[in-house]
């Protein structure tokens, strides 16, 4: 089998594939999601704790929120029994945002002390997802620090 203009075609193909995949190579290893195990420990020692462990929440919070929403809006069940047995009111605006109070800047003084940025938008922006929760749910007023 002979491919006419094979050389040109293959060179072109390689350049094309290179261009298309270049963003992946450029961004490799870059991430502004800072994961600091110390932060989680510190939160816990201060009695601050999310409804489920961080290891579960980081990858699963969107499913959890989705199911909370269905449970509250469609079934009228508003209480959530966490895996540690504690009860929470399932409310994005009134429960989650009590602690995750500042979606743009650093979460709280604790995180500032540790000089890490663990923010809702920090993570969402870096993985390029744009949740539109805040079109309706009111984000608490951002603290000017």
């Amino acid at each position: 089998m002979k491919i006419y203009d094979g050389g040109k075609i293959f060179v072109g193909l390689i350049i094309f594939v290179g261009l298309v995949t270049s963003p992946f190579f450029f961004n490799r290893g870059k991430s502004n999601i800072v994961r600091d195990p110390k932060a989680a420990q510190m939160m816990q020692s201060m009695g601050l704790q999310c409804v489920e462990p961080k290891a579960f929440m980081l990858p699963n919070h969107m499913q959890l929120l989705d199911e909370w929403r269905d449970s509250v809006v469609r079934k009228g069940n508003r209480l959530y029994k966490a895996s540690d047995g504690k009860n929470y009111v399932m409310s994005f605006q009134n429960t989650c945002m009590n602690c995750h109070s500042d979606k743009n800047e650093s979460c709280n003084a604790c995180h500032n002390n540790l000089a890490i940025k663990h923010t809702c938008d920090g993570c969402h922006n870096s993985i390029a997802v744009k949740p539109y929760c805040w079109d309706c749910h009111i984000a608490p007023k951002e603290k000017k620090s």
Partner: protein, 273 residues
């Protein structure tokens, strides 16, 4: 490879079954992150089977009375005010008798009745036309009778607005946040977004905490809220002792908002034997 028609059809059939069955299986096996036992209703919630309100028009004496009621609802639910009827969003509002109960008016009726503003809101109908037409089930009937809105599902098609014979629904033509005073936004309740339909929700968020709807609370007894399926409830006793009318009952949506029009305050509410 050659294949006859019969073999081809067999393979096609088997692939179809495998495809459909496989998808169904995959969906069936996909588990949520919560299990059902993890969620429960609020312990102190008000529960009922068919919530309704009886509105005693004799007790809504002044415009201020009525304004207090409508303002209470609109402020806690972050209902925007654009000060023009085209973009208006309303959960509870007023109309004249003639517009509220078309066909019931006549020229000899009391003058003040003709002019009086009647308090209107979603009727949380037993047979809601809005729910029947909603293509996404964004609006649905809850077990307690509330006709609920799931804003996450609303696609803004406005079928419900066309279907509702009571004008109870409003469309967000503009970003509602531009019609709200940022100082006065209730941080505990969401706003809506541009492009969705909204209406009264019977204060489901307050019922869950065990308190009555805001309009009822602000009305000084003119609005009585209760379970129409409970014969011992105050609202049932009022309906049994007073003549009441509903809006457009001939349309068959079975509204659950009752109006006491004439007569004096109900003097004696008969006890249940």
């Amino acid at each position: 490879m050659s294949m006859n028609r019969r073999e081809f059809l067999k393979i096609a059939g088997i692939s179809t079954i495998a495809g459909i069955g496989g998808t169904a299986l995959a969906i069936g096996l996909r588990k949520g992150v919560l299990d059902a036992a993890q969620t429960a209703p609020d312990t102190g919630a008000l529960t009922g089977k068919r919530w309704g309100i009886a509105i005693d028009m004799n007790k809504l004496k002044s415009e201020e009375n009525i304004k207090r009621v409508t303002d209470a609802c609109h402020s806690i639910h972050n209902v925007p005010d654009f000060s023009n009827t085209k973009d208006e969003v309303k959960w509870i509002w007023t109309e004249t008798f003639e517009h509220s109960f078309p066909g019931q008016e006549h020229k000899f009726m009391p003058e003040d009745m003709k002019r009086k503003p009647f308090l209107l809101l979603c009727n949380h109908c037993d047979n809601p036309a809005c729910v029947r037409v909603c293509p996404t089930k964004a609006t649905f009937k809850r077990k307690d009778g509330i006709v609920m809105q799931d804003m996450h599902r609303c696609i803004g098609c406005r079928f419900c607005m066309a279907a509702c014979p009571f004008g109870a629904r409003s469309f967000n033509y503009r970003d509602p946040r531009t019609g709200l005073n940022p100082e006065k936004i209730n941080p505990e309740f969401p706003t809506r977004t541009k492009g969705v339909v909204e209406k009264c929700t019977f204060c489901y968020e307050r019922l869950a905490k065990g308190i009555k709807p805001a309009c009822v609370e602000e009305s000084n007894g003119a609005l009585v809220f209760g379970d129409l399926d409970d014969p011992a409830s105050e609202i049932r006793r009022i309906l049994a002792s007073k003549y009441t009318i509903r809006r457009k009952p001939e349309l068959g949506t079975e509204p659950n908002i009752y109006y006491i029009i004439g007569g004096n305050d109900y003097a004696v509410v008969p006890e249940i034997k």
